[in-house]
């Protein structure tokens, strides 16, 4: 099993190398302009220059902090709303239409409005990221807390548990796998929110850099930034997976 997994990993890497080689060969062979499709070697040089000169770092830091801040705010508010709405049928009925409307509007369409409200820069991007993360967390929390097995609720009633105890000691732990699945979705969406938010709302950050490289007609730089965005996304996603695996250890352990 383990050797099989290793072989698959090696296979993926070999495939990547082959694709890059084919790309390099095509870019040189067909004499494509670097403006249209730069060769991987050119992209790598641009990436290396940016990293070595320190040009990329403030942008990475900016996008990273917007991502984490937006994710944290969106998830906390989403989780709290999910809990409140699952506990109170009245609030659920009262608030649900507004939540749905707020989610049906494409949030990126609100970005110009946020620039008017919060100014050009980090705050607007954080707000849009948080708004995007809010929904999956709220939705999953609400659903998970309502899907607790009726027999377990009866058990807690039988044992004279208070409402608070039932929430903290039964519903939340029982709903944890579902809530963490929501977090995983939120993390992926958060990166989209942060980068696209920067397209129009910031002059710093990887999204702003993509737009700037377009303006400078520096396509190798644009590709280099896309690589950075992909790496950032992979890092955050893998960290979430590791967190999930660790938290769910007792739920999954079988031997």
């Amino acid at each position: 099993m383990n050797t099989k997994l290793l072989r698959m990993r090696v296979g993926s890497l070999v495939l990547l190398a082959l694709l890059l080689l084919a790309w390099e060969w095509a870019a040189r062979g067909f004499g494509l302009s670097a403006l249209v499709l730069p060769a991987p070697s050119v992209i790598f040089k641009s990436l290396w220059n940016g990293l070595a000169s320190g040009y990329f770092w403030p942008h990475v830091r900016s996008t990273g902090s917007e991502l984490l801040l937006g994710l944290a705010i969106g998830c906390i508010v989403g989780f709290a709303s999910g809990v409140i709405m699952s506990e109170s049928a009245f609030l659920r009925a009262l608030l649900m239409p507004y939540v749905v409307v707020s989610q049906v509007i494409p949030k990126l369409a609100l970005m110009p409005l946020f620039i008017v409200w919060f100014g050009f820069g980090m705050t607007s991007t954080v707000v849009i990221t948080a708004l995007i993360c809010f929904f999956p967390l709220m939705e999953n929390t609400l659903t998970s807390l309502q899907q607790v097995e009726p027999q377990r609720l009866e058990l807690f009633r039988m044992l004279g548990a208070t409402r608070r105890q039932t929430l903290l000691r039964l519903k939340l732990p029982a709903g944890l796998p579902g809530i963490l699945a929501g977090l995983r979705v939120a993390v992926v969406l958060a990166l989209v929110g942060a980068v696209v938010g920067e397209f129009i709302g910031a002059n710093r950050g990887l999204g702003a850099l993509v737009i700037a490289s377009q303006g400078m007609m520096d396509t190798p730089l644009m590709f280099a930034v896309l690589v950075l965005i992909a790496v950032l996304g992979m890092l955050v996603y893998q960290a979430t997976l590791a967190l999930e695996k660790w938290l769910l250890l007792p739920y999954t352990k079988v031997s």
Partner: protein, 248 residues
């Protein structure tokens, strides 16, 4: 006065025909009673009424002469499935009824360990429920129901999902645990042999009524040999006949 007394108990879920009607039943301290009947005859509902999870529309149910209004530490309940919390270790699952009231003391932890040892699970205390077999999970559920030393134990087909041999082992464990504690038990099952093996008295239920009351006078303690004795077979066929008569 009986330990648990039901008088003219009736219960109806709104919009449905009555589930339980005019039940009169008494259980004396330390007795083991089984309720048998086909699926949907109201036996689980009657058990929940006795637990105080539901309240009768008619009649009254009294424990020690006091009306049963809400579940309390007097009662232990074992569900159809073990309903263990998979994020807690086995020991913490057994201690759940205690830890919902206060932080378990050293003495209570010892008691939980002892219960687990009696059920042959001493080495599994630090494991998580998912790491146990179905029979072991049922034992943990039994230990959890006994940790507060309830005087009345209510069980709702707790062994229905187990294989025949594991079920017989658990029946023996249950009888032994209850005898040593003088626990009164009301046990719901649809398995005739299980009812006769466990019970001092068997109530046959149909369409919300108790249609027959069968006293099982087979000596105790009951052993594997009991299962193949002539008296055992006679009682089983008596219960069976009672159920058939209802169906006819």
């Amino acid at each position: 006065m009986s330990f648990l007394a039901m008088q003219q108990v009736g219960f109806t879920f709104p919009g449905w025909p009555p589930v339980v009607r005019q039940i009169d039943w008494d259980i004396e301290k330390g007795e083991f009673h089984c309720l048998v009947g086909r699926s949907g005859c109201g036996k689980t509902t009657l058990l929940k009424l006795a637990a105080g999870l539901l309240h009768p529309d008619e009649g009254r149910i009294a424990l020690h002469g006091m009306d049963v209004l809400a579940p309390g530490p007097e009662l232990g309940f074992v569900f159809q499935s073990p309903t263990l919390l998979e994020w807690h270790r086995v020991l913490d699952n057994v201690l759940l009824p205690v830890s919902l009231q206060h932080r378990p003391t050293a003495g209570e932890i010892d008691k939980a360990q002892q219960l687990l040892a009696q059920l042959g699970l001493a080495s599994h205390a630090r494991h998580y429920p998912r790491q146990l077999s179905g029979g072991q999970q049922s034992r943990v559920a039994l230990a959890r129901a006994l940790i507060l030393e309830p005087s009345l134990l209510l069980m709702d087909e707790p062994f229905a999902a187990l294989d025949a041999i594991t079920r017989e082992e658990l029946q023996d464990d249950l009888l032994q645990m209850c005898r040593s504690r003088r626990t009164t038990v009301l046990f719901v099952t649809h398995d005739i042999a299980e009812a006769v093996y466990l019970a001092d008295r068997v109530a046959v239920m149909d369409a919300g009524r108790i249609v027959q009351d069968i006293r099982v006078d087979i000596g105790k303690p009951r052993t594997t040999a009991t299962r193949y004795s002539e008296a055992f077979a006679r009682h089983c066929s008596q219960v069976r006949a009672a159920m058939d008569k209802v169906a006819a």
